[in-house]
Symmetry: C2
Subunit: 326 residues, 2 copies
Amino acid sequence: MPRAWTLASRPKGTPTPNDFALISVDRPELADGEVRVANRWLSVDPYMRGRMNDVKSYVPPFAIGAPMDGGAVGEVVESRDPSLAVGDLVQHMFGWRDEAVGPAAAFIKLPAIDAPPQAFLGQLGMPGMTAYWGLLAVAEAKEGDTVFVSAAAGAVGSTVVQVAKAKGMTVIGSAGGAAKGEWVRSLGADAVIDYKAGSVVEALGKAAPKGIDVYFDNVGGDHLDAALAHARPRARFAICGMIDVYNDAKPTQLKYLARLIGNRIQMRGFIVSDFMSRTAEFYQDMAILSGTLKREETVHDGLDAMPDAFLGLFTGGNTGKMLVKL
Amino acid sequence: MPRAWTLASRPKGTPTPNDFALISVDRPELADGEVRVANRWLSVDPYMRGRMNDVKSYVPPFAIGAPMDGGAVGEVVESRDPSLAVGDLVQHMFGWRDEAVGPAAAFIKLPAIDAPPQAFLGQLGMPGMTAYWGLLAVAEAKEGDTVFVSAAAGAVGSTVVQVAKAKGMTVIGSAGGAAKGEWVRSLGADAVIDYKAGSVVEALGKAAPKGIDVYFDNVGGDHLDAALAHARPRARFAICGMIDVYNDAKPTQLKYLARLIGNRIQMRGFIVSDFMSRTAEFYQDMAILSGTLKREETVHDGLDAMPDAFLGLFTGGNTGKMLVKL
């Protein structure tokens, strides 16, 4: 019997393993136009925390007791649609389970780019697109800019660092601890801030004495305030994630918000699905950069490990993309 | 002897009358190209609070002991420049004093718009331009939008309300107390929030059950948070002032900041001097609207009253533009 993770209860604050339950699910016959996919790689991403709350948002909340979903890569094992054949590798949103069944249109064949299949859940998938469009379209970063990026060792942040360097920018990345910092530096970052070692606002002042032109925000909170404190005139902020508040009902405290005015700072929130129509453009540019980009993965093994992998996102447990391999 | 106000000491938090001192100043002979102007109207504006701190900002700090400056309207009483004649009414930045001397180029003849001279310190001056460009250029407000504006009874806010109504928008204004609310309603606002009567976030939810497209921020703090809570997808915020923090070292607390992301909200700080090159365009449009726009002034009498007028800005002491008449 296939198995799937469900949300057993809506977490208050930081989720715990008890908020999740692994259940057996039916194995339906395929209807015409449907395919069956054996999942090989499952994605866990910070935005999923938002879906655990019962509030209206840009993606609907998970239903209690129903299989959860999320990014996945798998192999077609049965097909009743001419567009997909057994053996095809596909990406889709029926994650958090070992087997997926649905209409062929919900499964996208992996494009012909020389990269391992799980890269399409990371640098060549949703996190990569988030980094690419957030940096270049939302924050309008350009050659010569000084870019600050938080969670620079994460799936999104590590791609921001590398795309920014490839496009001729100066990059300051923040990450927690020496090992992650070392890795961020190896990606080409000009300076690295260890946010666990002291005040972010002071460290950023030292790393960017002339200030920053762009801030790519993955975390909110102190990092956002530090970016406000050191923003140069007409700085642009791409607000991508606030991992700081996903689990926390406390308000964000900003001491430097009024600098928005005198420095004409622009802050823009965005979600990557707004850029889906430009995916071909993304693949094209990333295929060119592909040889020069580094990828790192933190891999958990087996469907049973899904909640641990997910919870690890909030405790700094990953370098690069966090994945579960089935 | 002419007299001028100086900053006697840099205020900590809210300024007090002791932070100001009225001094006598020299009455220099005019050099070639200079004019002497008897000031008739002096402006006090919230941004002046920022200039009392010794920090780098978009306008330099006031120097201790030197005459302060700010917007003023006066009459030329002596001229050694062919461009200005005795009797001309001019606007300039040598405020906080009864007599101004300087190069003719620093004094601008009032344009030929049918309005009293002091209007060029308010609706037809810096506050009016701030309202006009903030609403139409920075927040890109357009016909059909629902606009929320804080400090709607102030010099800037009351102009935002009226320009927005003239351009076919729905307007919700926030002001403190019943009398100001009444006045804001008389300007055409569709709904008025009395921020002194309870929670702004709740009141805005009732006034704009479908949310807001534009927020014109004059105050920051709770009002900004309420706007974040009720922003519709792709809402645009023009961040003009944070009167809340001018006097206050406490951080701004935002519970709803993460809504930036899912709703793709854009926040932009601005200062009106960025739009100076478009002043002719502003006068042209305002001259057309002029017959329909209401103006209110809170007038203090005499140079001695300058500090009181200024301090009144921070205690809700003004309806419309706060002025001192000499």
